[in-house]
């Protein structure tokens, strides 16, 4: 099972996602905005996947993706956006900066978990091949 970082300024949303991921056997780390997430990543770099909101105070999710790419490269951490935002422009900007999947809130737990498994499988294979 994987270690997944969940970034959202809403404690209630983080709690819901954490509960769903842990029920599926994953280990979850949490961050409350992009700036906090950069600190968490530095402290726990062995994260396999990042689930991230867009609209957050201090540092939003897309800025976090840009900063993470600058320091770690685009492919080290696959990023799965979980947000109320759904514009094509934002998705394109995300894709340029390491975002591999996008789900618009509210999410269905089963579908999110299937997507998480697909991403982990794809990037796990990529890591083995590298």
């Amino acid at each position: 099972m994987a270690k997944i970082l969940v970034i959202d300024d809403s404690e209630s949303l983080r709690g819901q996602v954490k509960r769903d991921l842990e029920a599926a056997g994953h280990q979850v780390a949490e961050a409350f905005d992009g700036m906090n997430a950069l600190e968490v990543i530095t402290a726990t770099p062995d994260v396999h996947l990042i689930i991230c909101d867009v609209n957050m105070p201090r540092m939003d999710g897309l800025t976090f993706c840009v900063k993470l790419k600058e320091t770690n490269g685009a492919t080290k951490y696959p990023i799965f956006m979980l947000t109320t935002e759904c514009s094509t422009e934002m998705k394109l900007k995300g894709k340029e900066n390491g975002v591999v999947a996008w789900i618009t809130k509210p999410y269905v737990a089963d579908k999110m978990l299937v997507a998480v498994d697909k991403i982990l499988a794809k990037f796990g294979e990529a890591a083995k091949a590298a």
Partner: protein, 208 residues
């Protein structure tokens, strides 16, 4: 001379939009709070008397702008949030209860935004805000008499802001929702009735 076609279009679009916001709020509260049932009841009376807390979020686009509000009290918020936090109500802090309602507001605005986008209407949403107190600071726009002596200009009927107010009843308590909105492109908003999008909770994952 009044433009009756425009007035009719705004009135028709207004009813469609009200129905959409009510549908989103009811469906999303049921899912987020994991309650067995929700019932929507049109609200009457003074909203200032409903709870001490209010969460508000703003959506704005070319076709319409709205603010959506949830009026609630802390005890009900804790009841509704207990499954999200997997805690008993007495173990949930005020901050956690408030966060739950803020996120609910965010989900409703996000649902409306997505439905609008599905009908080629772009919009932006704010972050949800929270306030508390006993005064209702959001008076009925377009009806200056409600604001007492404020010398606000009276708008024409089709320019006046629209509003709706309803209670969502659940087995764990009730919240009062209200929405105030201006329809700027009634023809575009009318298209919401043409093709209902899938249930908001059925959104697929998009791989990029």
């Amino acid at each position: 001379m009044k433009d009756t076609t425009l007035i009719d279009n705004v009135a028709g679009a207004s009813e469609i939009f009200k129905e959409e916001v009510r549908r989103q709020a009811s469906t999303l509260l049921q899912g987020f709070a994991s309650v067995d049932r929700t019932e929507v009841i049109s609200a009457t009376g003074n909203p200032a008397l409903h709870g001490r807390w209010m969460s508000i979020i703003i959506l704005a686009g070319k076709a319409l702008k709205m603010n959506f509000r949830v009026h609630f009290n802390e005890e009900v918020a804790k009841q509704l949030a207990l499954k999200v936090y997997a805690k008993k109500p007495e173990e949930i802090s005020t901050a956690q209860a408030v966060d739950f309602v803020k996120e609910f507001c965010n989900l409703v605005a996000g649902g409306v935004k997505r439905t609008m986008q599905d009908h080629q209407m772009q919009s932006l949403i704010s972050m949800p805000l929270i306030t508390r107190g006993t005064d209702e600071v959001f008076f009925d726009i377009g009806q200056p008499e409600v604001a007492g002596e404020l010398p606000l200009p009276k708008k024409a009927d089709h320019e006046a802001g629209q509003q709706d107010r309803w209670t969502i009843q659940t087995e764990r308590g009730d919240i009062l929702c209200s929405v105030t909105f201006d329809i700027l492109e009634p023809d575009a908003v009318q298209t919401l009735k043409d093709k209902k999008t899938d249930d908001a909770a059925e959104e697929e994952v998009e791989f990029l």
